[in-house]
Amino acid sequence: MPEKRRSKRILRYLSFFGEYDWLWAQRTLAGMSNDGNRGHGFVTTPWSLVIAAGSLDEEAGRKALGELVRLYKPALTFYLRKKFCGDDEHLADELFSAFVEKILVGKELVGKAHPRQGHQFRQFIMTALHRFAITELRRLQTLKRQPPEGIESLERLLEYDGAELAIIGPADFDVAWARNVVAEALRRMEDDCLKSGRAEVWGVFEHRLRAPILDGVPPMPYAQLIQRFGFESPAQAYNVLGVAKRKFEQHLREVISGYVADWNSVDAELRELQVILAHATNASQ
């Protein structure tokens, strides 16, 4: 056998130094395929159901849209709070609940819900929410309920309605939406890692990426990391870091796939959310 070929065979066989640890690689691959990396075989999503609602059972469509909207409660109530409620969280929550209720019992919204790309969906939801809020506040006013403090601009909003929409909020709403997507992806990733017995994947992500980037804390030192998670070699630690990054990306994509129609739209939306965040001014929620 030629020397080089023989060396390669030895390398392969010996699982040398971890880099050639095929068992580990297989486990890693198995982990990915077992815990939700569905590659590009796009699975049926709630939003797919909503899109198809014209031909599907309307109740199923309403439920799907209702679930989706509940997922984005932080972004939607942020918009309501800032736009209509003078930062009154309680009123924003009330309006949001009423909005969800309207989706669940009415046919109007789900019947219009056909946008297929991320920005179209965001625009659709924001417009629907905005119009709903105006209608609802007008109804409250008609019922002679005292408008809560902080909505002094109600009359003006009622007067200008859609025209006002163009100059207030879309960018802020997009930022709130992007935050919501990231938060949901992180929540799902942590849950997924802990439920699948891969706490080390979440741990490495949390201590080397999430907390250092978002909270500004120093990354957990390498020596502490390997002690805490029992890594046998740098290759193993490196592999887990790689798995963690892929898993976060996978969850980001899955969250986005809940409101877009296909994988091309997922890619486009992920890029767009990144751009939205990178260019946003830094108002926090």
């Binding site: 066989y13 978002l214 909270d215 390997i226 990054k245 976060f248 965040l277 830094n282």
Partner: protein, 166 residues
């Protein structure tokens, strides 16, 4: 954890998303010593002497050595290390040096690379590289200049330097 997302600087959120395709989270220069120590202590999964014997012709002495060598630190500290294992160690380090996205920082891979070459020269009297003495010495000089390489590597490189220095 989620609440920090709603308070975080938006540029940092964009950075978190971008981190999946970057080097973020990887080991920094201040951690090279820890990574090297970890690599030197990482178990060599050689799969038993008979397995190795099927792949390369080894002497009974090598067989004994293989059974004694549990990690790279053992390999570089062994009085008669099997040359085949040193060659494997060198190739492993070389492949890591040449791969920017490999699991080892290139500096750590370089230390292991020169350690394998010097150990082969010192303990086996064999040259396992096409590098000439001058190039090896330059590598050793670079390595001993690194604060993080530890006592074992420092002594090994000093010994190698004495052997090769004109």
């Amino acid at each position: 954890m989620t609440s920090s997302v709603y308070k975080a600087d938006t540029a940092k959120l964009a950075q978190l998303i971008a981190s999946v395709n970057g080097k973020e989270g990887c080991w920094g220069p201040e951690e090279l010593g820890d990574v090297l120590r970890h690599q030197l202590a990482a178990p060599l999964e050689v799969g038993g002497v008979s397995t190795v014997a099927q792949m390369v012709s080894i002497s009974p002495e090598d067989e004994r050595a293989i059974s004694e060598i549990k990690n790279l630190a053992d390999l570089f500290g062994h009085p008669r290390p099997p040359l085949a294992l040193l060659e494997l160690a060198k190739e492993f380090a070389k492949s890591n040096r040449e791969c920017p996205h490999g699991p080892l920082p290139s500096e750590v891979a370089a230390v292991i690379y020169f350690a394998a070459i010097v150990t082969a020269l010192l303990r086996c009297g064999k040259r396992i590289t096409s590098l000439d003495d001058k190039s090896i010495l330059a590598g050793l000089d670079w390595a001993v200049g690194q604060q993080w390489i530890g006592v074992q590597m420092r002594e090994l490189f000093a010994e190698g330097h004495r052997l090769l220095a004109p």
